[in-house]
Subunit: 198 residues, 2 copies
Amino acid sequence: MSDDARPRLIIASHNPGKILEFQAVLGHRWQVRPKADLYVGDVEETGSTFVENALIKARHACARTGCAALADDSGLVVPALEGAPGLRSARYSGGDDEANNALLLKNMATLEADDRAAFYVAVVVLLEHADDPTPLIAEGRWHGRIAAAPRGTGGFGYDPLFVADGYEQHAAELSAEEKNRVSHRALAVQQLLQQLAA
Amino acid sequence: MSDDARPRLIIASHNPGKILEFQAVLGHRWQVRPKADLYVGDVEETGSTFVENALIKARHACARTGCAALADDSGLVVPALEGAPGLRSARYSGGDDEANNALLLKNMATLEADDRAAFYVAVVVLLEHADDPTPLIAEGRWHGRIAAAPRGTGGFGYDPLFVADGYEQHAAELSAEEKNRVSHRALAVQQLLQQLAA
């Protein structure tokens, strides 16, 4: 099969790490292209769930390019906070990651130890075209709990506070390799590949 | 556990068969209630995918009742027709099932045998509350092909034309028991139960 025979798949992300990751695992069957190459632009994420936001982003990329598109959405969910920070994980406090972590600690201050359970979730969707009624949907969850104080300088988001099940270290203390092996995003990508192989 | 300790789960459907089915498989952990009991009403299905329409219906039921809600959406997908009848399966022709079947045959008249592949799909979602960012999402697909002429009087929808893989009979010639055992909806419900058990 020549390069040109592979259909194009637009990655609806500006994150170079994500684009390389998807290129590595999907390049054998798609010409994986970042959306920036095709001037797709951004779209307002008006969904109420991670999967709806991922679908909005993928559909926008399909509509602008006429190609298949892949998009993801992810965040931290604290069940005892009714799912917050949830979809607003990146803009929870209106400030930076440090401010978001501080607000989360404040909002959890009165919770019992049992209620400090949390999980990171990543949803990845693949739409064949803008009107595709049956996208592939893959989800990964990384379960753990929210510690009483931040630790570590790696990762991003709530990693200084997040302690995954089976770990002593906070996520921000893990190597990038370790995190990429076990995280919600890794699980979601694995699940997507299983569905593509099925 | 007394009956009252089980949280309520609203089934966002008017179909008595579906309600009984979900009651049978989910009744041990939820008080399963049809939405008609709670005057939830209907909501416009404005989604572009089955999963988005199911989420719209479930969220509406959650918002009206303050309870968890389950909703499904399903239809027939013909990849060679870009996914049609898809979300418009029930209203493809603007007429009844017979008119829908006739229109599908007409639209497939020029397709090669290889392009007559089709699948039924059912998506079931469970939202804990109206703002739940991480619904459970289960999907079942029933693969087969579209025959050249209708046969059988059972089932509904495109069953007279749909021949599932591994069957000689058209779906409309199968017993209700057989169809309920192997269909897209059966697979979706099984997958939902696996997720609830995980």
